[in-house]
Symmetry: D2
């Protein structure tokens, strides 16, 4: 029996407590809503974490077992501890954990430092969005049609100052005249990162079955693979003993 | 004094003779129109070529001096000789010539065989297009604003079955709900290729100063660089004499 | 129970009949040797095919069921029918089949036309090769150490005139002073392509357990995924009826 | 007359004062040596800067005029102020400055934070290195042969935990059995970054004419281009006024 994927869904979890229009959509928080639609995936163990929990929701004993970390944050990016960000970055780079940044997570500390971006983009009012499937054979696009429509999500617009993704899976059209790279994969160190734009707190994008399938696919894609040697967080010296091995063989 | 760039603008040149609405926009052909707006670039020598010219417009003596070949074709892709396509491909791969495919050139024989694509996309009626600048520091984007509007061009839509470009410089929004990778660079062999979508025969996109600047920039970008060794169209054998050079030094 | 992967191992199968030093290593052909080391993978149905078989080994009824095609060819690339090459290319681009080019397959017709390359490289005598794992979290690198040694394979050297791969998984060091991109992934159309350099006919590289694991991994990686819509080998027109759908929703 | 490129060569400048074998090769510092071999490039204004200078060599009035920053550091990476690193990163991301990391600069704070990498690699004794030209048509490879030999440089080895470069221009072979991606380009934000491995403090690589040409080429490549709009270090809101512009046109 194969090992389950330990998933942690981290949420800032402030809007849902403070804003009526968010509370009505996500009464237990966006993280709880995501956990709920993933519940039939028997290959996943899902844990919830929030900014205002102890250790900002990610104590060492939890983080050190996490295979994939999902991150939803917006108004409190600055409150996230730099030490925690550094632990997340290191774990991703060592290939022990995948990282999925959701929506306004483009500006979160972990996303920016892991990927190498300021995360900047332009933004505007909620409006109709059409998501296009630009790489249909990518594992994250499995089962997704050539396009799907979101009645309403927040406008995010190019230029989006991200590095060229390793794979650009989805791109979006917005009613007011904008486009956006809305689903993009990055390999960083030995870890996998996915950014996915739909998911504004006042919109119902997480109710959409295609959005749900994409998140499910992304978790499996980002989960660590069997790395065939021990990666350390340093620069190993190759001594003559090591070199000699080449000659022996 | 630095060498001028020998540019050949190749045009199928059929629509302009047969369709009144095209003739009125481009009376001497799209190729002549492009030549005209490039005429103040003193670093370029520009020659026109058309499908119905002798040797399909590209006799060996012209092709062998061409630094950058622009290609506009649509209804007569199949008429282009395979031998000519092979000569174009080889010249690009050897780093002797850049290739710029314009608009419906996505389905031209040279573009498909050079890049490795079937060139497929979806298409529809002429409509408003907004071109977004996604890589503002790329040489082809020099001087281009973050976006510009084309009152009308033909709808081209994702999924566009091209390989991931070496650089995705422009993306477009279309009024009816579609997006498209409208400006993309490819390195093939030792040569440079640019695909640029605006330019339908019944539209005035080539009158747009940003479109004109992009084509001007692309010609300079695609022009061959100083390659520091002779590239041959074969697989050279490394003999022991060659290997011995390593030991001598 | 999930569907098995239909794998076809295609081999030119000439050297093994004609050259004593090859026959002794691969008496039933390289393709049969590969089939044998894959035999414990219960998720794979493996079929052998050879150039001198009927329909060059790939009749329509076999090709139309193939999920992953491995290709070993060398001295008879030119004998492969262009019509067959076109059928292979189309099937890969439509996302119905992955393609794995082995060793001298860099110069095979299908590899060149699918990827968009002349396949050129430099080559020389058999010698010690060390394969380095440059993307340890890639599925094709699963279980592979940071490097492994091949006592002897044919020298292949940069410059290798391939497009930038979507993923550069392995690179190789050769005793005489050369390097080579020895394991590279390409996405073409909706299909997946892997090139893997070790495997000269007079060498025992296919006996190496790491080489065997890489080929096993590559088959699983290249197998078609669940594409969520029908891809056709044409450019579909978006009619007003289709556009109207956007407005309805 | 076109504007000169303002180049700053920043050097840690400690080894040259403290180690006899470095002093004899680079008596005035590696930075001064590089400035000297670049002196005939009349399109460059070159300034030297060192860690122990006032403001760590990069006061605001200098940094704010710098077009391309070269960075050589090794033993004192940690002494570089985080505030300075942040100013460098922001300037690169805004497209106002290119950044060239030399040799052990793979571990410098600016390189790591700009590119998104921990900079890790393996390393060992000085030995023969052969640099291979993998992208001969790239501007940084202009005039460089297919390979050149360095009698001795420090061993740097894969796995090198960098993101896939936008362009992999050079790769290196090392005598003891290792390979390394030794010349790699990254686009970050709107800025250009080049990493170049040769240049250990006890070796004469900077005396090599090909190394010198590569650095000269890289400076011109990394220099800012004419960006056609104002990039700000924030996320601009698209207000209804802005949206209205689309409708007007």
């Amino acid at each position: 029996m194969s090992k389950k994927i330990n998933v942690v869904i981290w949420n800032e979890f402030r809007h849902e407590k403070e804003m009526e229009d968010v509370k009505v959509l996500y009464p237990d928080g966006i993280h709880a809503f995501i956990k709920n639609f993933l519940k039939n995936n028997e290959d996943m163990n899902i844990t919830l974490a929030a900014l205002d929990d102890k250790d900002q929701g990610l104590p060492n004993e939890l983080l050190s077992k996490t295979d994939v970390l999902l991150w939803w944050g917006h108004c409190a990016h600055k409150e996230v501890n730099d030490e925690l960000v550094e632990k997340i970055r290191a774990r991703v780079y060592l290939g022990k954990m995948g990282f999925i940044a959701l929506h306004s997570g483009h500006h979160s500390k972990p996303f920016k430092v892991i990927v190498g971006t300021n995360g900047n983009l332009s933004w505007g009012r909620n409006q109709k969005e059409i998501v296009w499937n630009m790489m249909p054979s990518h594992p994250i696009a499995a089962g997704i049609p050539d396009h799907f429509i979101l009645e309403e999500d927040e406008l995010y617009s190019e230029p989006f100052y991200i590095p060229q993704p390793n794979a650009l899976v989805f791109g979006s059209w917005f009613e007011d005249g904008h486009i956006f790279r809305s689903g993009a994969c990055f390999i960083r160190g030995a870890g996998k990162v996915f950014y996915f734009q739909p998911g504004h707190e006042t919109c119902k994008s997480y109710y959409n079955p295609h959005v749900q399938r994409i998140i499910e696919n992304a978790i499996r894609w980002a989960a660590p693979t069997e790395i065939g040697y021990e990666i350390t967080d340093e620069c190993p010296e190759i001594t003559s003993a090591t070199i000699a091995e080449f000659d022996k063989k």
